[in-house]
């Protein structure tokens, strides 16, 4: 029974994706919607992303330093470990899971509220493709999401450097040497590729949960929670699959 329900939901999700691109909203209207979503979703997330990245980057550096008790292990490993963990996993994956909470619940509750107050019906009755009107601008806005992650990567490594140097764990030169050690350009491709995929999941899964919800204000809250769970589970699953495909073998 459960399984059938999940499969039906997944089917509905893909039908929704198709409908989003069906009948386009007038460009003059859509343009403003896109700007509004960029403001809400992208600009509105920069503060929290910057804060978390900087301090977690710092903690990664300190933890690495504290675990390097063997004097034979060179200090530049601190910079190296910070870079690897921030760029490969922390920024793309864990920031995305946090965004599943922040952006995701915002998207689900705003679309869900429109559903329960019949605003979506009002759009449909007017002849508007409500899925295109509501979800398409979010997808376009989230094409800028990799910039957010880029900032997160930069600030994470910067935070590691500050914590390492000012905490007295390493010298600036050592840290920078480590941060440049064995640099593999493909890792950047891998990180941003998965970021882009997470961005699409972040735009569409919470929208799905808001759009197809039923009930009243209480259910809007519940839908936001369910949406967070599914968005983060999907992100973590995709992360595993993509890592296996792109870096494994």
């Amino acid at each position: 029974m459960m399984l059938i329900r999940y499969i039906t939901q997944i089917g509905r999700y893909f039908l929704m994706l198709k409908e989003i691109f069906n009948k386009q909203t007038k460009w003059s209207v859509m343009r403003n919607l896109i700007f509004k979503e960029i403001d809400d979703l992208i600009i509105g997330s920069l503060g929290i992303v910057a804060f978390i990245s900087f301090f977690v980057g710092g903690v990664v550096a300190i933890q690495t330093a504290l675990n390097l008790t063997n004097p034979l292990i060179p200090k530049y490993l601190i910079g190296f470990a910070t870079r690897q963990s921030v760029i490969l996993e922390f920024a793309p994956t864990f920031i995305s899971v946090i965004m599943a909470g922040k952006m995701g619940s915002f998207i689900t509750s705003s679309i869900g509220t429109m559903r329960v107050t019949e605003q979506i019906d009002a759009l449909e009755v007017m002849g508007v493709n409500s899925l295109n009107y509501l979800v398409f601008p979010k997808i376009i806005a989230l094409l800028l999401y990799p910039f957010v992650i880029g900032i997160s990567m930069f600030l994470g490594v910067l935070g590691g450097w500050m914590a390492g140097v000012y905490g007295g764990f390493t010298s600036s030169d050592e840290f920078i040497n480590g941060a440049q050690l064995d640099f593999i350009p493909f890792h950047i491709v891998y990180a941003f590729l998965k970021t882009l995929i997470f961005a699409m999941l972040l735009a569409t899964i919470p929208s799905f949960h808001g759009y197809y919800m039923k009930g009243g204000a209480l259910e809007v809250g519940r839908a936001s929670t369910v949406s967070f769970v599914w968005t983060s589970v999907t992100i973590i699953t995709f992360n595993y699959i993509l890592t296996q495909l792109l870096l494994g073998s």
Partner: protein
Amino acid sequence: MIEVKNIEKSFGGIKILKGVSTVFETGKTNLIIGQSGSGKTVMLKSLLGIHTPESGTISFDGRIYSELAPDEKRDLRTEIGMVFQGSALFDSMTVAENVGFPLKMFTKDNNSKIQERVDFVLKRVNLTDAHKKLPSEISGGMQKRVAIARAIVNNPKYLFCDEPNSGLDPNTAILIDNLIKEITEEYNITTVINTHDMNSVMEIGEKILFLKDGLKAWEGTKEEIFRTDNEAVVAFVYSSNLFKKVREAYLKE
């Protein structure tokens, strides 16, 4: 003219509409009346295509809704104005933006022309100083009037109103009723109104459909409704009379 043939609609196995047929005439105010829970809203939403009936047909001047292609459905819908029971205003937009929305979406009018039209319809619903307010900043009655303005702004051929005057004071309620009737006649619109207000029935009930337990229990005009001896109708009308008398007694005290 909207022709409804034998529509049935159920939710979770419970039949709400059990085969209703009727005709809503052009240029007239057609009323659907009935007790709370009798299926009026479900009926209206089925006409609009928000609910899909399991069987039966609905034809808008010969266009059978269920047989139209998705694009044709959307085009037909641009000819429809709808006032929802809860107003359903877009809460991120101001009053003026709400009213101008259908024009912005579906016409090539420039901003000043839209502005002009918005001013005109807002004046018609007696709202002249709320343009810049958000829906959350105006009263429920004002929201209703904004919703009516939004429904008529693009000159609809079909107008649906779900209890347009519930929650309004008697004066405004009559004003809204008469406004809808005037617009209906002036622009030759096919108007369908849900109500359980006997005042509205007496004011504008040119054609009345009485729903009871998902069935058409009676159909006629406002002149006929007071003469009929249909038990269900009598019970419905009398209960409202009783209410009136209670209120009269209360006012005398």
